[in-house]
Every structure is written in C-alpha cells, then in structure tokens.
C-alpha cells in the first residue's frame, strides 16, 4: 500500500485558503462580534407601478400600410434595494424567458431572444430607471392572447 503525499501545488492552495480565513479573522479584531443581519437573499429587480405584469391591452392593426403593428410602453424599474442616491452602477441584460412565436420584442431598440443581451450599461443601482419596451406584431400573426415573459439580469 502506497500513500501519496500532497503535491506542492495543493499545499500552496491550502496555504492560500487558510491565509484568507486568518486575515478575515484578524480584521474582526480577533473578537467574536454579534451583528444583526437579515437572511441573505439575492438582490432583485423591482418593477415600479406594474407589479411585474405589463398589460398592453388590445392590439389591432392601425390601418396603415405597414406590415406590422408596434405597441410601445415604458416601464420603470429599480435594481436592488431603494436608496436616495445611486449605489454604483450595473450592466442590465434582458432575454425572453417565455417567448411569443409571433411577436418581436425590443428593449431600448435591442431585439430580444432567449439569450441575454446587454440592454444598458452603467445603470444606476438603487434608484428608479426606465426602459422602453416595443412589442411588434406582424400582420400575418394570428389573433389571440399574447403572453411572454422578459427576464432581466443586472450585474454590478
């Protein structure tokens, strides 16, 4: 039976991790402190005034010679908890969580797909921002209910 000794690489990694833990402990002053904190939860993007549902109502062709009808709405949102001033910036991505096969969705002019795309960079965190959403319905799309979901992700 042979035993293997840790390689120098693993040993270096372990040393680095222990060093990090040690430094964290030292920053706390070496004393155990009790800090009140809410349970950790991921930051959310909150839609203001829409409760996460945007109803564009009845969509009918406008009688022009265009081959599609476009409904435009502006939605307000906030990234992260509310604050008086921006707490930094984030890059905002959007994608179609649930696509509608007969419509084209744009946010700030960017056509959405199932793959997240950058909608806006340097979006202020903690304060209200607005996004322009366009829903384009081609004339050859069938009538009926429209339902789609836009997923949003912000990375600070």
């Amino acid at each position: 039976m042979s035993t293997r000794t840790p390689t120098p690489v693993i040993a270096a990694g372990l040393l680095l991790f222990f060093s990090l833990f040690l430094s964290l402990s030292l920053q706390a002053g070496g004393r155990r402190r009790v800090v009140a904190a809410s349970p950790s939860s991921p930051m959310t993007i909150e839609f203001l005034g829409t409760a996460g549902v945007l109803d564009v109502g009845r969509i009918a062709a406008d009688g022009t010679k265009r081959n599609s009808t476009i409904q435009t709405r502006t939605v307000a949102m906030r990234i992260g908890p509310q604050s008086r001033e921006a707490r930094g910036t984030a890059t905002l991505y959007a994608f179609l969580e649930i696509p509608d096969p007969h419509s084209i969705v744009r946010v700030n002019g960017v056509v959405l797909s199932s793959t997240p795309r950058v909608i806006m960079r340097d979006v202020p965190v903690g304060i209200r921002v607005t996004q322009r959403i366009e829903i384009e319905i081609p004339k050859d799309a069938p009538e009926g209910a429209l339902q789609l979901s836009i997923g949003w992700t912000a990375t600070e």
Binding site: L16, I45, G52, G57, R58, T69, G144, G151, E156
Partner: protein, 170 residues
C-alpha cells in the same frame, strides 16, 4: 502548468464571488385582434383622399352636351345620358385567417329624381346595400365600374351623394 491552472481557477472563483447579480421577470400580456381596412384607391373626377377610407370626387358642372368630367366618359342616349368611370377599392387584412371578403355599397342619401347611381351595373339605393363581390381578394385593388345616369327630365340641380362601401371578411 498545473500551478497556472490552479491559480486561474482560484481567480475565477474569487471573481464570481465578488459580482452581485440582480434578477427579475416582467410578464407581458395582451390580446391580438384581427382587423381589416378599406381604402378608396381611385375614382373618376377630381379626387382627394385616395388611399384613405374617405375619398371625395368632384365632377364639377355636368351636362348632356357638355364635356365629360376628368376621368369620366360621357354617353348620350335618347332620353338620358351617362357618365362612366371606375372606382378602385382595396381591402387589407391583419391577424386574420380569412381568405376573402364581401364588399357592398349603399348610397348615403336618396338620389335626386331622375339620377341613377350604378356600380358594376347594379343600381344603388339608400335603403339597402348592393353586393359588389363576395370573393374580394385582400391586398389588391378591385376595380368597379361606376355610372351616373341622368335622365333628360331631371332638374338642373346638384346631384351630390355618398357611396358607402362596407367590407366584411368571409
């Protein structure tokens, strides 16, 4: 090489742990409704508003022994005379599976005595709609013959009227 890989992995872990990510979902609802749109594409006379649903055709002063208005021909009969032209009507559809439509026409008011308004050879009235076609093709302009028949006995007066077209998807 192993050292480099380990260091790179460590850096990636550290980087991921530092990035804050927020997420949310916006549900969009609505109802797509079918619709059709009728436009007058052409007509005899001096027209305005073509390409819309409310066109106007001015014939000016007309008489049996005068000249025909712009876009009309004049035929003199034994006891009447007829101004002839065409009206072009287009019906577009959107979000509709229907393949054709029915087009009717009806006068907006009773015609002056001695005046007959005809489309496709059928005399129009203000009390009932006249069917021009029951198999209209969407997106193409249908041309319908338009005649105004004036009896020699008709009083010299304005003949103003309106032809109201109605398209219904089949």
């Amino acid at each position: 090489m192993k050292k480099l890989a380990f260091a790179a992995a460590l850096l990636m872990v550290t980087s991921a742990a530092l990035a804050d990510t927020s997420s949310g979902t916006l549900t969009v609802t609505g109802t797509v409704e079918s619709s059709i749109n009728l436009t007058i594409e052409s007509a005899g006379g001096t027209t305005s508003g073509t390409g819309t649903a409310a066109a106007t055709s001015a014939l000016g002063n007309i008489s049996k022994y005068g000249s025909a208005p712009t876009g009309f021909t004049l035929a003199r009969g034994a006891s009447n005379w007829t101004l002839s032209s065409t009206v072009g009507v287009k019906v577009d559809k959107a979000n509709l599976t229907s393949t054709d439509y029915t087009l009717t026409a009806q006068l907006g008011s009773a015609p002056a005595s001695g005046i007959d308004w005809k489309l496709n050879g059928s005399t129009l009235s203000d009390s009932a709609a006249t069917t021009l076609t029951s198999t209209g093709t969407y997106g193409s302009t249908g041309s319908y013959s338009w005649d105004v028949v004036v009896a020699d006995s008709a009083a010299a007066a304005a003949i103003d009227n309106a032809i109201n077209f109605t398209a219904t998807s089949n």
